[in-house]
Symmetry: C2
């Protein structure tokens, strides 16, 4: 070996060491997940669930801001593919790790292994779930908790302990049965959920309600009794808890409360909120919140934690129930609370829900200033439509079909014929974009890289049911957005447009950034974001039945700036045979 | 245009025309199939079925010997892949069209289209079905009828009309539920079937047996009454019918009979049989038969066609029932037969089943001479085993796992690491091959191209249940084999080997060729085939639960002689990025 290569080697060692030193504070967290079907009795009714390492929900991922998370997913399903989305993680520089089959990757086939690697670049509460067909509803979901690194800027609040609360709803029919009904003509609705789950447990289900026969899957035995089967949260008297709450409900808008305790909202979707106090928190599918709860009640008894459906008239779904227990109390963990569970808010009082949405503004010390004006505005009408007799959701007359080749691959590689090259209309006032003449298409909006985009989501009435209008929680991949306004009725660009101009004067509440926001019944919601993350990103209603029926749009921005695509995201559709 | 290209064009037209003329007698049959889930009530219980163009069973494919069949499969399942096997078609020169996921192709993903193109080179009765996980049991199945071309050599029998009879069994649980139980520890058996189907109808299911609650999927309404819901076969008095019978049962060995009518067996798996008469025909999963039935009974009444489970003690599964009606009778098509359905044979009389198996020999005028001796003999022990606590089926101690990269691609392209390169043992007397120390492996036997191979299938007792031993119908892909012998007890090479030497003297019955043959309880079955079809071929127990639990082996022969692989079979596992 000559001297020169040795020197080169030494230099390399130096560079690598300093890189390692520079990253010494940021850790890499490796997880290996086997995805498989397992028989589970989450609400006492035994049915198959898609599990992570045998469990549903899957494990909570813990990391600190700046860390890298590596999840090696092994698909152990027999005939079914999968893909996992890291909800709220912006995937800056890693658009191929967003986990949306048909948008950012080919699905992971049975027997195959796929590795997700991404940086969690902001503290907060996030989620993960399957993003393939309606598979999320089968149980593949969980939470991601990103904390500030040790010694980093302190959060604008203090607490003594933490709890995580994942809310959901649950059906006894398989997602295949649900999806087949939704895509049938005549349409078969999935029905309201049989149970509401808190951390994957729904003990309220009553076998007799099913009229279940002997020997059926319904098991009302002791394993289903309230504690120990319910989720249980322990409080030490006098302490303050940060309770991280997220919802991955399939269909339900939820209200969460802890009997007798008030909650101070301090975080939403990874951004600090100007604190406000509530007795119950409305949580829409895809949203996360952190609330502070003081253990200031009588420690001698237990309390209900409860979730209720709002926005839909349901009498068949029991309340979701968990138990809060004071550790020092004499009551023990297995004693149900002495009271009836809270009744929850009135299901159809939209005004109180809109009021909460409007109360969620940026913490004054943590404002991320929004651009004053957009470069482009999309006015997106959310409307049901009939296409060839099938009920669909259409946005400006276009119902989204996920293509068999991922948009990211076909757009980056210029594969023609893999998607519809005609972008959907920017407004619903455009000819033919009203939903009556809807079409099913695989199309994407092309956004200027770095441009500022406003989206005004406009709600409408359902095709049937009089003047009924539903709540749609919209979730944007790859970005956070500023929540500009929640308005009533139909958005009027002339009259309402001014409300979207931010003048930034002192003392005014500033818009918070989120990744999921509700579009309330008969109203409109305006958001703004900067299209600064090269890639292709889904923006969709987070209700699983709705996105399954086409309620989403796709944004492309700077796809030519995306780095070399990993071969592992290819192999399907027109990406067969591509190596990078 | 210069004169030279014109001449070239003229020459091309000539060549093409003559090619077309040369192929004028052989037709190409194009089919386009959408594979989707649909709600079906095949036996009055509504559940999801995997359908072909909305139906289960799928359409019968009709073609003449020498024709080409082209089936364009569009996977409209949401999250589930598929692959379709053309059972009994040898795929000479087209090993990539055999339709076995993990062996001959990558699965077809949702949203993708895959085209199967193959020649049907022998008249006879064949089958098709999904060959991916346990998907076949979900309803994707049907028949293929190949007739002699007009003017070709006449069959050694005559008849006036034809009927097709596809036998099956049916569960109310999904294949996911079945498969999850089979792979669980502790093992959960699929149970005996709820119904036996004849041409996809099983009217005998009784909702009250389920203890079904009000409003459940069980529908005992008029749509489930015996005719019109049952399969119905019409006879004209005095005429003779060729009844083509096949079984794609998941678990059940079946007996089929037509009340009051005898049947003359004339074809088995596409080969002419030395005719023999039966009252009931034993049909094992994967087998096909043609029988002649004379309409010689009282035309004034209707008759039962019935299937019964044999070889398993089942009292819970009702008889499979259909109706035979004489068209000229006064009874009408909607009148049930006046008699009770036939009781069927004694379920545990193995001797009569072995006797029928031995009666199936080649028609003297249609003998295909078998080689006198093999070049190699495999002695394959069929045994249950426990691997890491999971119940498996192992062959010589190896339980087959289907690899995520198809054997055909990895072997042809030399992809290392895609399968276990150590072939399984040739005999169970080899050290460690007894099933007690079984391993799960993706391995293949390598056969010399053109060599003659004997396989002696050796049955064994179950792991539990005393001296219980089951019937296993073994099916070979890519070949027909000569059925040499059905023996009792343990095969003794010294004593029994002589029975496998064919001396070809006159007057002796000659072995028939088949593609599926039963291995009877406590016995052995010897077959011989010529490994003359370059490719990679599955040989397996055709019971779906058994092959799912590893009861199969893989044969490679002359894979280097296989032509250029189509890109469409790639994209999964290590074949990602391959273009041919």
């Amino acid at each position: 070996m000559s001297r020169r290569p040795l020197l080169l080697l030494a230099a390399l060692v130096c560079v690598c060491s300093s890189m390692l030193l520079g990253a010494a504070e940021a850790k890499t967290h490796h997880h290996t997940w086997d995805i498989s079907y397992q028989y589970k009795s989450l609400d006492c009714f035994e049915k198959l669930a898609v599990t992570v390492n045998g469990e549903s929900p899957g494990p909570t991922i813990h990391a600190a801001r700046g860390d890298t998370v590596v999840v090696t997913v092994r698909n152990k399903l027999e005939t079914e593919n999968t893909a996992i989305h890291w909800h709220g993680i912006r995937q800056i520089g890693t658009p191929w790790a967003d986990g949306v089959s048909g948008v950012t990757q080919c699905p992971i086939l049975p027997g195959e292994t796929f590795t997700y690697r991404f940086v969690v670049d902001r503290a907060g509460t996030y989620l993960y779930h399957a993003h393939y067909g309606m598979q999320r509803v089968a149980g593949l979901n969980g939470m991601i908790v990103v904390t500030e690194p040790a010694g980093a800027a302190v959060e604008p609040f203090t607490y003594d302990g933490e709890h995580t609360v994942l809310l959901g709803d649950w059906w006894h029919k398989s997602v295949y049965e649900q999806a087949t009904g939704l895509s049938s003509n005549p349409f078969v609705f999935v029905t309201e959920p049989q149970s509401l789950l808190i951390n994957g447990r729904g003990t309220a289900f009553n076998c007799s309600q099913l009229g279940a026969p002997t020997g059926s899957a319904c098991n009302a035995s002791s394993s289903c009794a309230l504690p120990p089967a319910a989720a249980l949260f322990t409080f030490v008297p006098g302490k303050t808890y940060l309770v991280r709450i997220g919802s991955l409900a399939s269909l339900s808008s939820l209200s969460f409360e802890i009997e007798g305790h008030s909650m101070t909202v301090v975080e939403a979707d990874g951004h600090y909120v100007k604190p406000f106090v509530v007795r119950n928190l409305f949580v829409y599918s895809g949203e996360t919140y952190s609330v502070l709860v003081k253990a200031d009640q009588d420690p001698a008894r237990n309390y209900w934690a409860a979730s209720h459906i709002v926005g839909r008239d349901t009498t068949k779904t029991p309340i979701g129930k968990a138990v809060v227990s004071y550790s020092s109390g004499a009551n023990g963990l297995t004693t149900p609370p002495p009271t009836a569970p809270p009744a929850g808010p009135v299901w159809n009082d939209t005004a109180i829900r809109v009021a909460q949405s409007r109360a969620i503004v940026a913490h004054p010390a943590h404002v991320i200033p929004a651009p004053a004006r957009p470069d482009r505005t999309l006015l997106l009408l959310n409307k049901q439509a009939r296409v060839d007799g099938h009920l669909k959701w259409a946005i400006n007359g276009v119902s989204l079909a996920f293509p068999s080749t991922p948009f990211l691959v076909s757009m980056k590689r210029g594969l023609t014929g893999a998607y519809d090259p005609r972008p959907p209309p920017d407004t619903y006032t455009a000819a033919g974009a009203d939903g009556v003449n809807a079409t099913v298409r695989s199309a994407a909006y092309r956004l200027g890289l770095g441009s500022v985009v406003d989206v005004v989501l406009q709600n409408a009435e359902m095709l049937s049911g009089g003047n009924r209008s539903e709540t749609h929680p919209w979730h944007l991949h790859g970005h956070d957005f500023w929540v500009l306004a929640h308005g009533d009725g139909e958005f009027d660009p002339a009259a309402d447009g001014g409300r979207l101009v931010l003048d930034g004067r002192d003392g005014q509440d500033r818009p918070i950034m989120k990744n999921t926001v509700p579009l309330h019944p008969h109203g409109w919601t305006a958001i703004r974001f900067r299209a600064d993350n090269p890639g292709v990103w889904l923006f969709h209603c987070h209700l699983e039945a709705h996105v399954y029926m086409g309620m989403g749009v796709v944004f492309e921005e700077g796809v030519d700036k995306v780095g070399r695509l990993p071969a592992s995201i290819m192999g399907c559709g027109r990406s067969k045979g591509l190596r990078h």
